[in-house]
């Protein structure tokens, strides 16, 4: 989607209405009535539950909606008791649970309804009800989480790079990896991931960069005494260099073969060392270069474009 509003809070909400699904904010505990319920009972149901309308359901399927307005219309026409199915609105607009919130917002707006029933796409069964209140509550809930994660960033990448005036812009991050400190494994990738998010890079790019860096970081921890990670972000490309002073790799070609591993048992017990690290890194990156000298160390250089095109590690 195109983000033109400069107010960061507003763009965050715009993103959320696309990201969040109806199912994440809808009310699941529903009060429903069968089509055979009497209009005289309906008044009590609406009053006791303090609701202004309710879905009419038969065999889990939505057959109509009945509201206070329908009740009033019925009363003005004399109020002769009858089943709700004779009074209810049969033409009902609905949403599917897996639709993004933005669909709910626009449908509520378009038809001026207070609520919309939510159906399961597969079974067609009524699974919930969504109101404007649910949407606001859901958005606030998400925003609160984001605040907590300190992930509200003031800039999208485009803004960040657009706002800097220079012939060439490069943002650099440098990290130090302590070899053999397995308990710290992932700290560099975690810090880098958070920083790239702040820069506002595409989530898919951030994820791939984080995965590649994490695998490289684990390699340094497993095989070397220490290492460093230098990350260089330009508007269109992220370059990562991971350099260690470790034992080195005798046969680089063999090392990048999926399944080839020289990892000791303690590494395997942690869920690593199955010979998939380097192939994983290669799959996450566009450019991949591995250079190593036995006894001196290893340097890995990778490049990941920031374009945000879909490329899954597989």
């Amino acid at each position: 989607m195109k983000l033109e509003n400069k107010n960061p809070q507003f763009t965050k909400i715009q993103e959320l209405v696309y990201e969040l699904k109806v199912t994440g904010v809808m009310t699941r505990d529903l009060i429903t009535v069968p089509p055979t319920a009497k209009m005289s009972e309906l008044r009590t149901i609406l009053r006791d539950n303090r609701i202004s309308g309710t879905p009419v359901v038969k065999d889990e399927q939505l057959v109509g909606l009945i509201s206070v307005e329908d009740l009033l219309t019925w009363l003005t026409r004399g109020g002769t008791d009858c089943p709700v199915e004779q009074v209810m609105s049969r033409k009902v607009h609905t949403l599917y649970a897996d639709e993004p919130l933005v669909h709910a917002v626009s449908k509520l707006e378009e038809f001026g309804y207070g609520r919309l029933p939510v159906l399961d796409r597969r079974t067609g069964a009524l699974v919930g009800l969504i109101t404007k209140g649910d949407i606001i509550e859901g958005l606030l809930h998400e925003l609160q989480i984001d605040y907590h994660e300190e992930e509200i960033h003031r800039y999208r990448a485009s803004h960040f790079f657009e706002d800097m005036i220079a012939d060439k812009i490069t943002v650099n991050f440098h990290y130090h990896i302590h070899g053999k400190k397995i308990e710290q494994g992932g700290e560099v990738a975690s810090d880098l991931k958070r920083s790239l998010k702040r820069l506002g890079l595409h989530p898919d790019v951030v994820r791939r960069t984080a995965i590649a860096t994490y695998e490289a970081e684990m390699n340094v921890i497993i095989y070397a005494e220490e290492g460093r990670v230098d990350v260089n972000v330009e508007p269109d490309l992220i370059r990562i260099e991971v350099r260690d002073r470790g034992q080195g790799i005798a046969d680089v070609g063999q090392a990048i073969e999926p399944g080839y591993s020289t990892a000791p048992d303690w590494v395997r017990e942690l869920g690593f060392g199955a010979g998939m690290g380097l192939p994983n890194i290669k799959n996450c990156a566009r450019d991949f270069d591995l250079a190593s000298t036995v006894g001196r160390g290893t340097t890995l250089r990778i490049g990941i474009p920031t374009g945000g095109e879909e490329k899954r590690c597989a």
Partner: protein, 116 residues
């Protein structure tokens, strides 16, 4: 399917996580190999694993799994739970074996990360 429903199916204890009823999960992957998880698991999926060290949480953080379920009743050490809390990744603990846990969830409609 919500995380609350997943916990119910797996008869799992929620070790950490607010409001599992609001977390919607469509896919899962089960593995004790973290590189396989990094490679194959999809963003937003559930990770089932028999490992309990903090690297599992790191892996979930990088691959953006919505939640982790430890199988075979293996209770994670406090540092794993602390890291999950810091990263807001919900944790479940089930006594079911990996095969049984995956089978129950798949039967209930939770898709695998490697299918369309």
């Amino acid at each position: 399917m919500t995380l609350a429903k997943i916990a119910e199916i797996l008869k799992a204890e929620v070790l950490y996580g607010n409001d599992p009823g609001r977390i919607e999960i469509e896919r899962a992957c089960g593995s004790d190999l973290m590189s396989d998880v990094l490679c194959q698991s999809m963003q937003g999926s559930l990770l089932l694993t028999g490992l309990t060290n903090p690297q599992v949480v790191r892996t979930a953080e990088m691959s953006e799994n919505s939640a982790i379920c430890f199988v075979r009743g293996k209770r994670p050490p406090p540092e794993t739970v602390d890291l999950a809390r810091k990263n807001q990744i919900p944790l479940l603990l089930s006594n079911y074996s990996m095969y049984l846990a995956c089978g129950k969830l798949y039967t209930a409609g939770l898709l695998s990360c490697d299918e369309a």
